[in-house]
């Protein structure tokens, strides 16, 4: 007999494991990663040091992370339909909120692991940069601070994008399907909007700091964070409601 | 349906007739013909259902009817066995013969034959020795 407390943990683990395995088995992707890593190491070796190339530029990619969180959440849910397993999943004797929350958690974990790997990768590159070109060690500390700030922002805004991803996947399976373009518009706008929380270019084109952590950061920017969590929970409740009553199977 | 042999008994089921009656009749006639010996064990409900590819409930019903007629007996933990009582088997043979004759007579009756005409036909077909 399944133990209620273990059910959530198992649902989470199962989705996380299946999704991770799917990513790992894409051999061609590893080829790209290896190629990009080699290019970056070479670029750092040649143009690093004097700030003609700084690994910190790579943190600009954080701009895309909210979109990635959305994408993972969307695809983990959508796969139940596209793989023909939705009948098994939705007839499990557990509430829709439990089933969806487990998927949300799996998508979050998946996204965070990816982000963390990226940040660690870039940090290693910076370490290589400092060692090779004999820059001051204090640069590493500075780099870590910037990374930490970026990571913080990515983490706090992801619930909104994760919940929106679930809503997009469920809306597509209901009579509300015509609203789908609206969800995509919110996706594009919000993804961009959150990006601006992150990125704040200095005068010389280098990234100096992050908007919310900037000295001139307005208090309302910080308020955006709990507000986005509130909206995320509303979006999640919407997805739960749709899967409960309105699915067209 | 194809002919199937289970535990020495031959079966041929027709899906347009009740299966329960066919299983029952065919076990009875197997006993009468001696295809299965007195006191011998008959296949379990599951084996019979698997061999005939039918619902075990149907086999169960037929077996219960055999038991009611005392043609079989179930020994706890050992299975179901054909009765060892030759009298019961004799009885069933005669019953089957009576049924066949009744059917035969009914048919000829419906064709308008009288009893003496039927007796004459029987004799001409080699039944005169009796």
């Amino acid at each position: 007999m399944p133990n209620e407390n273990n059910v959530f943990a198992y649902l989470f683990k199962n989705d996380f494991r299946m999704n991770t395995r799917r990513m790992l088995t894409r051999a061609w992707m590893w080829g790209y990663f290896a190629a990009i890593a080699v290019v970056l190491v070479v670029v750092t070796a040649v143009w690093g040091g004097e700030n003609r190339f700084n690994p910190r530029y790579l943190l600009f990619i954080c701009f895309g992370f909210p979109f990635i969180a959305f994408g993972i959440s969307y695809s983990i849910l959508k796969r139940e339909w596209s793989n023909g397993t939705v009948g098994w999943w939705l007839t499990l004797p557990y509430s829709r909120s439990k089933l969806l929350l487990a998927k949300l958690a799996a998508a979050a974990a998946q996204a965070y692991v990816l982000f963390l790997i990226y940040f660690i990768g870039v940090l290693l590159l910076e370490l290589f940069n400092v060692l090779l070109h004999g820059n001051a060690w204090s640069e590493i500390g500075e780099f870590l601070t910037v990374e930490g700030e970026y990571l913080f922002v990515v983490l706090v805004i992801s619930p909104f994008m994760l919940a929106l991803g679930q809503l997009a996947a469920t809306v597509a399976r209901t009579k509300l399907r015509p609203l789908l373009p609206l969800v995509w518009i919110v996706f594009a706008l919000a993804g961009n909007g959150f990006g601006w929380l992150n990125v704040n270019a200095g005068d010389d084109g280098r990234i100096e700091s992050i908007a919310v952590f900037g000295e001139s950061a307005a208090a309302w920017l910080w308020l955006l964070i709990p507000a986005s969590w509130l909206i995320a929970s509303i979006l999640f409740a919407g997805a739960v409601r749709l899967t409960r009553k309105h699915l067209i199977l | 349906m194809n002919e199937v042999t289970v535990g020495g008994m031959r079966f041929e089921l027709d899906l347009s007739q009740p299966l329960y009656e066919q299983v029952l009749d065919q076990v009875r006639s197997s006993i009468a013909k001696g295809e299965i010996a007195l006191g011998e064990k008959i296949p379990s409900v599951r084996e019979m259902a698997q061999a005939l590819k039918i619902n075990p409930n149907t086999v169960m019903r037929a077996y219960q009817e055999l038991e009611r007629d005392q043609l079989t007996e179930t020994r706890r933990g050992q299975g179901t066995f054909i009765t060892a009582d030759a009298e019961k088997v004799k009885h069933i043979r005669y019953k089957l013969a009576e049924e066949a004759v009744e059917e035969f007579l009914a048919k000829l009756g419906s064709l308008g034959f009288t009893a003496s005409e039927i007796a004459a036909i029987l004799r001409s077909k080699g039944g005169e020795g009796q």
């Binding site: 399944p2 273990n6 009948g87 | 899906l15 005939l52 039918i54 075990p56």
Partner: protein
């Protein structure tokens, strides 16, 4: 008549202008094997999905094992969805672990025995399976649950003859082992009709005919014959 495991009255389900169920009154007897038959679009799958709460009726009442369908009730129903696939990221052993972690009444040891009996191995990847192998795995997942109601929506569709025969044999074993209400929806009538105690023929979302199969055989012929009489 024995007690009803499922009772539906006046069930209506609309999809746009079409009524998939159109005032369906239906009773499924307890502890028997019932076939739900009819051409495509007769409302079979809609009715089956309603039992597990995947589809909610627009009108009418439905009682399954004495309750209204809900996710909680699904703990007592073993359901094979129509056109279902299994998780392609799983091996057979992982599928069984999925069952023991999530499905009430699931017996992992029995599941393992069933998959082996059905010609599968624990270390097989679902991804590399033929359609017939996958269908056998899914049936094993359903039969390994000791629950009062088993609902199989098209367990034989589009699979090879050997898989079909193995599935029929596994079903007969399962029926011998436990008292369970079984509902099967299928188009493979000649191969399966000897398994049914009871049959319900649906047409345009209502019951065209229903009854004890043995009685139907005595009065109207085989299930296949009746199907032809009703729908041709």
């Amino acid at each position: 008549m024995t007690k009803a495991a499922i009772q539906g009255s006046g069930l209506v389900k609309r999809y746009g202008r079409r009524n998939a169920l159109d005032g369906l009154d239906i009773e499924i007897p307890e502890n028997s094997v019932t076939a739900v038959l009819g051409p495509n679009g007769a409302g079979k799958s809609t009715f089956m999905r309603m039992l597990t709460g995947l589809v909610t009726p627009d009108q009418g009442t439905l009682r399954v094992l004495g309750e209204a369908p809900s996710w909680k009730l699904n703990g007592r129903i073993s359901y094979l969805p129509d056109r279902a696939r299994w998780y392609e990221g799983h091996t057979v052993a992982e599928a069984i672990r999925w069952g023991s972690n999530l499905l009430p009444g699931f017996d992992a040891a029995q599941a393992l025995q069933l998959v082996e009996q059905l010609g599968l191995k624990a270390d097989m990847d679902v991804k590399g399976m033929s359609k017939g192998q996958e269908a056998r795995l899914m049936l094993a997942m359903c039969l390994a649950r000791d629950v009062p109601l088993l609902v199989l929506d098209e367990p034989f569709s589009g699979i090879d003859m050997i898989s079909r025969e193995r599935i029929v044999a596994a079903l007969i074993d399962s029926f011998s082992d436990r008292r369970q209400t079984v509902l099967i929806c299928t188009h493979e009538i000649p191969e399966t009709e000897s398994l049914f105690d009871h049959a319900v023929f649906l047409n345009d979302g209502t019951v065209a005919l229903s009854g004890d199969v043995e009685e139907l055989r005595a009065t109207r012929g085989s299930v296949q014959d009746i199907y032809r009489q009703l729908y041709v």
